[in-house]
Symmetry: C4
Subunit: 197 residues, 4 copies
């Protein structure tokens, strides 16, 4: 089986997920300050999720880059990841509509945890399928510290939101997202330098 | 005519169908237990349909894999399949909203039956077009027992939901979906072993 | 400029248009006959539009098949076609919601007319760009009688809906759609026979 | 990293954005003149945004045409552009629903400004990455005057809408859109003539 249709389907689903969230940004009735105010938490929530789906898309891209053929196990692990991510618009809208209520932020954190685990499962399935190919396993090992750290942050965000402050959990999400955006650039530069040598 | 655009269009439609269903998961007003409770049947209904669309995507992938060129008959049989599948979000949402009411579960079963028949028609059209190509007809014959069993389960689900228990019909749907996920892996392993020989 | 991205974008837009219409099929409250009855006109309206978008997709496929490169004029003529078609879900939903009211059926007919004209413009722009290429112009000339007949039917459907009977106009739409599905198969067979010679 | 998935993902997101806007065209209750009247501003708003997203798609196409490989910086600059554009359906719907109210038109102008800046950032990142490749930098420099003029028009549209007349700002948007559609054809013709020499 060729990977191109898997990529095309995943790209389609991710593109729809990332765009569908905007439908939760309900158009306010009128333009008064009072009508516009509920927009802010919804917009913040949307931006956060846009960045997360963006990170998943980039990482998905990287993960499948070295893979040549896909089998049923990879296909279904990929489906699991897409399923987890498809719940993000719902959690995003709910978190925004309740203005970062502690319960919805905890649920959002739990969903990010599930998405992270789904990605780990997909990576593990690919690793197992291509266990002889060191270039793939090396690339996967490289992002392991970030994966573990993110997982810890997601787990921490749940009690923090419930018992301390939901905005602190939101801050954890922002830190995780920044962590995934920045270093990938650093790694790439290192790779490019290596290429030049 | 080339099959690549048919695949791209089908992937697009399937990606939208699978993602659009999440829009039926209405964001609850508030976070009270009472507000959240109607979510459960909707979520279960969504998971079930996600798996079914996923199965159709995988099988569609397999079906078109060996096909090289498409004609008008294949195109329109494919359209019929996409049309049937496009009704799944509606049936899913309805079944979820009525908490697996016996009538909506029966309608869901009838729709799965229609989708199954549409797939069979598409397979038959491809088979007829490529009647000389034994590799295609062989692959189609292999999944015949599963197709027949699924059809029987779908047919049975309608009276069972109406006169016995809708949850029993839902169980039949789960059995069918598991049947399609698991064995495809088994077949694949067998194929891989053959390749190694 | 390469045509592959134009095709991919058009496929994406058409896939979304064809699937988005299902969102107009509002999930009924409950399962009583009274709740379900408004579904029928909406479902009929949806089926009709699904077939029309399907026809446009197939014809768009044929039209671009022989084209190798696209210029700005082709791109924007294509945009005009996509824009016209993007209004179909709206007209479909309106016609369904008003149970084939004479005004909405007339508007639907007018929209089909606009879509047809947009397609003719796109075909004309392609024809002009590739005026030396007889294979393209020949293919376009072949579907001319059908285009003219469809246009006449669309024009007729407007006064017929307003002053005679909207269902008669709906019948005209069905005749047009059947006309485009059936003969394309006939032409293809003729082409295949030619190929064999 | 290959650019094909970046293009496919961007095409997907743009196709969804351009089509999702139509969902804001709420189906009127009935067919009376009174029910239909609120449609006009919504339709005008939709047409304007359709053209703008179309322009971005064409320019995105041109921009990535000469690029061979993408790095993380290009990916994230592209994400920023897609994010800005994903807010267009919201601003479009709001502007239409308030019948071109001065505040919503000013917000629409501000959003177009943000989209324009995001595109400039993407172009700058590509330029920096491929600073040695004169064919890319030349192509980017060619559209600079239009970019600057558009930016000025967007900036002007904000105070004009707030303090003079929102319809005047809408006129500025129309002028910008026409400016981007027409000359691209002129440039192309010039390019084609060059090719013939």
């Amino acid at each position: 089986m060729n990977k191109s249709r898997l990529e095309a389907f995943s790209d389609g689903v991710l593109a729809i997920i990332i765009t569908i969230m905007i439908l939760e940004l309900k158009i306010p009735e009128g333009t008064s300050l009072q009508a516009v105010r509920p927009l802010w938490p919804a917009l913040c929530s949307y931006i956060l999720s846009f960045v997360f789906i963006g990170i998943y898309w980039v990482n998905h891209h990287h993960l499948l880059h070295t893979v040549k053929k896909v089998n049923g196990a990879i296909m279904w692990a990929n489906m699991l990841l897409l399923f987890s991510l498809s719940l993000v618009p719902f959690a995003t809208g709910w978190m925004g509509a309740t203005r970062f209520d502690k319960i919805t932020v905890a649920i959002y954190g739990a969903l990010l945890l599930i998405c992270g685990l789904s990605f780990t499962i997909l990576a593990a399935v690919i690793k197992k399928t291509y266990s002889q190919d060191t270039s793939i396993t090396d690339a996967l090992n490289k992002s392991k510290p970030k994966s573990i750290l993110s997982t810890l942050f997601y787990i921490a965000s749940i009690p923090i939101s419930l018992f301390v402050n939901p905005l602190l959990s939101a801050l954890l999400f922002v830190i995780v997202s920044v962590m995934w955006i920045i270093p990938s650039k650093a790694i790439e530069k290192a790779l490019m330098e290596q290429d030049e040598k």
